[in-house]
């Protein structure tokens, strides 16, 4: 069957290219033939890829606009940092890989629980109202994290809210965030996380549950009349995305020596949304490309110095204008012969 085969080939190519890139980059790291900036960006790129892919699951596949996705990343990041610090201090777990794995799992789980708690009220709303509530939750998470203090004293974990006088080693210092974090995140771990999230998302899309999620997106009333529980499937997409975002956050957090809670704000949520839109809504391989390109781009534009972010903004506007210009779209269609244009812009609802 045509579509099925095409999808299968696209996914296979995606996996293949990623594996290839990983091998090439690892060789380059070992040979020290990689630039220092790029090397430092590898783990963040992995995190942002997972963020973009998971947000695309919510925005593209489930059709709901989420403006607070960075909140889940933040929860995952700080949970990961706390877990790692606690395991080291309280349980003398010296092995960094084990700590990293446990931290990522903890980050994902916590973010998942948050996803469930947030999803229950949020997914009852529609359209722009749903979007604004996700934004609100994102800001609430950021604000609350700014006030949380956590310390580890042996195997006990102490919590403080608005009060920083805690015994033991301070792991999370309110508005100062996390300091002196042991950066145990590795590029290999990042790559594995990327592959994991791809497998989860692509397999989910190509399954009974995925079809239900897309049906709920395409025509809510028809889906209900065909026996699909809309809330259940919107939750499924939302929580899965939250878990993945949490894991991405844990990876990210454990790659930074210091991390402020304000790092995970509306601006970051919007950034990820830009990745998703530019890569193509519903287009998972596209999200990988755009997340990578747009993380590297600001660095590449360093030569513009002060004009860097301005150039970024102008580029963004131009790309949006061009990709939605009917004449450009016609030209594009002519350039790619024989390929059936399956969706017009209007059809993919946000």
């Amino acid at each position: 069957m045509k579509t099925k085969k095409k999808r299968f080939m696209t996914n296979l190519i995606t996996y293949g290219v990623l594996i290839l890139l990983f091998i090439v980059l690892t060789i380059m790291i070992n040979n020290k033939s990689i630039s220092r900036t790029l090397k430092g960006q590898l783990i963040p790129i992995c995190s942002w890829i997972v963020m973009a892919v998971s947000l695309n699951l919510v925005v593209g596949i489930s059709g709901e606009l989420s403006l607070g996705h960075a909140g889940f990343m933040g929860i995952g990041a700080f949970t990961g940092i706390i877990t790692s610090g606690w395991l080291l201090n309280g349980f003398s777990m010296e092995d960094p890989t084990l700590r990293l794995v446990l931290a990522i799992i903890a980050g994902g789980l916590t973010a998942g629980i948050a996803g469930v708690l947030i999803g229950i009220p949020v997914l009852r709303l529609r359209g722009d109202y749903l979007a604004i509530v996700t934004l609100a939750f994102g800001e609430i998470i950021k604000n609350v994290m700014n006030c949380v203090y956590v310390s580890a004293e042996g195997t006990t974990l102490h919590w403080g809210f608005l009060n920083g006088n805690l015994p033991g080693t301070l792991l999370l210092n309110g508005p100062m965030g996390a300091v002196k974090v042991k950066t145990i995140a590795t590029f290999t771990a990042g790559f594995i996380l990327v592959m994991f999230s791809l497998v989860v998302v692509l397999n989910l899309i190509n399954s009974r549950s995925g079809r239900a999620i897309m049906a709920a997106r395409d025509n809510r009333i028809a889906a209900e009349a065909t026996g699909i529980n809309i809330t259940k499937y919107k939750m499924m997409a939302f929580v899965t995305a939250a878990v993945l975002a949490g894991m991405a956050g844990a990876l990210y957090g454990l790659s930074m020596a210091t991390l402020l809670p304000t790092k995970f704000s509306f601006n970051e949520s919007i950034n990820v949304l830009v990745f998703v839109v530019l890569g193509g809504i519903g287009n998972i391989p596209g999200s990988i490309i755009s997340a990578t390109a747009l993380t590297i781009l600001p660095e590449k534009l360093r030569f513009l110095q002060n004009y860097r972010m301005l150039a970024y903004a102008v580029l963004l506007i131009l790309v949006m204008l061009l990709s939605n210009n009917p004449m450009v779209k016609m030209l594009w269609r002519k350039l790619i012969p024989g390929r059936k244009r399956e969706q017009s812009g209007e059809e993919m609802r946000a």
Binding site: V59, L65, P121, R124, L125, R126, G127, D128, Y129, I132, V133, L135, A136, F137, E139, I140, N143, V144, N146, C147, L162, P175, I221, F266, I270, L273, V274, V277, L278, I281, N306, Y307, M309, L310, Y312, A313, V314, L316, I317, M320, L321, S323, N324, N325, P326, G345, E346, M348, R349, A350
Partner: protein, 293 residues
């Protein structure tokens, strides 16, 4: 007395949010888009007043209208350049473009005026207002803000309901296609909407910085988000809704910061919003979305 003082401050802050929210809600109702750059037009307005009074030595009476003019032109230009070409595109595409425009404004301001916060001198050089035998002291800016809000509210309501352009705006917001068929120039209507919204943004910028004198390129960002929240809170597309939403949001924010916790002020505001939307899913004054089956 402390409560009253806080309440007045809350209403004043809420008035600023309301004026900004008006811009959001009008553009949403009529052009069917979320203009994320709106918050940054506020910042531009404030900088123009700042430059006018500090660098070019103009009096505020000239500086303020100048800022309104610049913002109006800016708003209309942004609409013509970036939003009009995307009228047929998905709402998400327009949203991202608006975000890009917001970045553009912020970074341009950064380049022109630098990142260091400027202290904004209040153009209102009056004495403090004392009420209740001096027990309640109110800054003149606070009262002026509230007064400005009331004036704007009245003026705008009259404009929307009594003038031809106002009627055109209402038509376009109901059904753009039908409005066009009835001979209404949709392009002009949308331009006017942006013009009014941007002029209001300039006023909001002035009032914001008069009461909270720190001005930097990111000054418009958070108030913009909060005002957008207020607009949705009141029911997006509804002008009275934007008013009520804005004022309520300001009150909740100040009272929350004063009586619950300063650090959690923002969280409280957003939490209240969420609760309200759960009870009234289309905002306080919003219309329920009806789909024909």
């Amino acid at each position: 007395m402390v409560f009253l003082s806080n309440l007045v401050n809350g209403i004043s802050l809420g008035s600023i949010y309301a004026i900004i929210a008006l811009g959001y809600t009008m553009v949403y109702g009529i052009a069917k888009m979320l203009n994320f750059a709106h918050g940054d037009v506020i910042m531009v307005g404030a900088y123009i007043v700042f430059c006018a009074t500090q660098y070019w030595n103009l009096s505020p009476a000239v500086g303020i209208p100048l800022a309104m003019l610049v913002c109006t032109v800016l708003g209309m230009t942004i609409e013509k350049l970036a939003y009009k070409p995307l009228r047929q595109a998905t709402s998400l595409a327009v949203l991202i473009t608006a975000i890009g425009m917001s970045y553009l404004l912020q970074n341009t301001a950064l380049l022109i005026w630098g990142a260091n916060p400027k202290v904004f001198p209040s153009p209102f050089s009056m004495d403090m207002i004392r009420l209740f035998d001096g027990q309640l002291v109110i800054k003149p800016e606070t009262l002026i803000t509230i007064a400005a809000n009331i004036v704007i509210m009245v003026a705008l309501t009259l404009f929307i309901n009594r003038t031809r352009m106002g009627k055109a705006m209402r038509c376009v917001s109901e059904d753009r296609g039908a409005a066009e068929l009835m001979g209404i120039n949709v392009n002009t209507t949308i331009s006017v909407t942006f013009a009014i919204g941007s002029a209001l943004a300039a006023i909001a910028g002035l009032l914001l910085c008069s009461s909270y004198p720190m001005l930097q390129p990111t000054t418009g960002s958070m108030p913009g988000i909060k005002a957008f929240t207020a607009a949705v809170f009141g029911g997006i597309g509804s002008i009275p809704g934007a008013m009520i939403g804005g004022v309520l949001l300001g009150i909740i924010e100040i009272l929350g910061k004063a009586y619950v916790s300063t650090e959690l002020g923002d969280a409280i505001v957003f939490a209240v919003l969420i609760i309200v939307l759960l009870v009234r899913p289309t905002g306080l004054l919003g219309k329920p979305i009806r789909e024909k089956v």
